[in-house]
């Protein structure tokens, strides 16, 4: 299903697949910067609010087995307590809680670009009960991807 979501998504535009017991939003974009720069941006927690307009604060450590407390513009009153579930440098980062996981992938694409995807699947047996209280992620995902692309490309093109 995830492959289906990705194949349908356009550059920088989020897509959401809704099911009875789950919802999955994804976005993908090509970033003309080294994967190491994209990875550095995704894993330096204290720097997030500077470049990412969807995140207001991240505390903790984005590292193998680490935990973070994240505040997002989606729901500014709520603090998301998340565990780093996968940490494969310059390739894959997954964080989440019992309700869902956010997956980031980075691939060295062809033509000098880095292919970046971000997806989040939330769900479970009780999902239909609380689904209407969860805001849509699409706009936030698009801004996240656009901010990441802008910041990484700006770094890539800085004087050397």
């Amino acid at each position: 299903m995830k492959e289906q979501a990705n194949s349908k998504s356009q550059e920088g535009r989020a897509t959401t697949i809704r099911k009875t017991f789950s919802r999955e939003t994804s976005v993908q974009t090509t970033i003309f910067a080294d994967p190491a720069i994209v990875w550095a941006l995704l894993t330096h927690e204290s720097d997030f609010p500077r470049w990412n307009s969807t995140v207001t604060s991240v505390k903790g450590a984005i590292k193998e087995g680490g935990t973070i407390e994240l505040k997002s513009t989606l729901d500014e009153k709520r603090t998301f307590k998340l565990t780093i579930k996968e940490f494969v440098p310059e390739k894959r980062l997954v964080w989440g809680d019992s309700q869902g996981s956010r997956v980031y992938t980075i691939d060295k694409g062809t033509g000098g670009g880095t292919h970046f995807t971000m997806s989040e699947k939330i769900g479970g047996p009780l999902f239909p009960l609380f689904a209407s209280y969860i805001p849509p992620f699409d706009e936030s995902f698009e801004r996240f991807a656009a901010d990441l692309k802008k910041e990484a490309e700006s770094m890539q093109n800085s004087k050397s």
Binding site: A33, I37, A40, H44, R50
Partner: protein, 266 residues
């Protein structure tokens, strides 16, 4: 390469190395010790130098590793360092007695706002994470290229670009918020305040127009003002300037205040 050749080469950038280490450690003693250790290590390992980078880059990488070893276990300074140290200084009569004596007696005891701007940067930049601090100084003050810094820090060029971008933006933000020379809303005016103490007959405004960064504060962008700040550092040798002894005395005071402050706030 013979020992004599190595010594001759080393001496061509020893001053630069010592200045870099002073700005990393904020300690004359530590800077001098690391320069000495770097030389000894260089001499012992010269047979391993293959010329993949310049000798200067290789030696700076040895020195940077020694600085890292020293600083890794120490806490970074808060960006409000100048406020904290100012409060301590106001209650320290001995500090001012010593400083005024240096001012009177030493040929390197002049107070100049420009030199204090460089001093202030040394203190505030110690709030950056260690790797970012190293990368920023190497690039912005000592003119190393990204590829050379990658060798010195044993990092990828991409990571060095990340460090440079983040650290530069961070300091631009800190100085824009704090420095009254570049922003009328800035909360720190210590350089002009000290100028009033050390040079009571001088008019601070007349001095400020001589400093490009302060003179052009309203017309230049934040990025350009940061470049002008870096230009001041590039042009000053903290050991050789006309204000060296006064500023080094002040730096040692701030270092001690910071060590006590960080210990008390552990």
């Amino acid at each position: 390469m013979t020992t004599d050749q190595l010594t001759a080469e080393f001496e061509t950038f020893q001053g630069e190395l010592e200045s870099f280490l002073l700005r990393m450690t904020a300690s004359v003693q530590d800077a001098e010790d690391i320069v000495q250790d770097t030389y000894l290590k260089t001499q012992a390992k010269i047979h391993t130098f293959r010329g993949d980078s310049s000798l200067k880059t290789w030696i700076f990488s040895i020195a940077s590793n020694l600085a890292r070893d020293l600083l890794r276990s120490k806490k970074r300074w808060p960006e409000t360092i100048t406020d904290i140290c100012r409060e301590e200084t106001l209650h320290n009569r001995q500090f001012f007695q010593e400083a005024l004596q240096i001012r009177e007696m030493s040929p390197q005891g002049k107070f100049e706002i420009k030199e204090h701007i460089a001093f202030c940067f040394t203190c505030v930049s110690k709030s950056l994470p260690l790797e970012q601090h190293l990368a920023l100084l190497l690039r912005e003050v000592y003119g190393f290229k990204v590829a050379e810094i990658a060798v010195i820090l044993n990092q990828t060029e991409a990571m060095v670009k990340y460090y440079l971008h983040v650290s530069r933006n961070r300091l631009i933000e800190i100085f824009d918020h704090r420095c009254s020379l570049i922003n009328k809303e800035g909360i720190c005016y210590q350089c002009t305040e000290l100028n009033g103490i050390y040079n009571p007959k001088q008019k601070a405004q007349e001095e400020l127009v001589k400093i490009e960064m302060a003179r052009d504060a309203e017309t230049k962008s934040k990025e350009e003002l940061f470049d002008l700040r870096m230009k001041i550092l590039q042009e000053l040798d903290p050991f050789e300037s006309g204000a060296a002894e006064l500023e080094l005395h002040h730096l040692e005071h701030n270092r001690q205040v910071m060590e006590n402050h960080l210990e008390e706030n552990q």
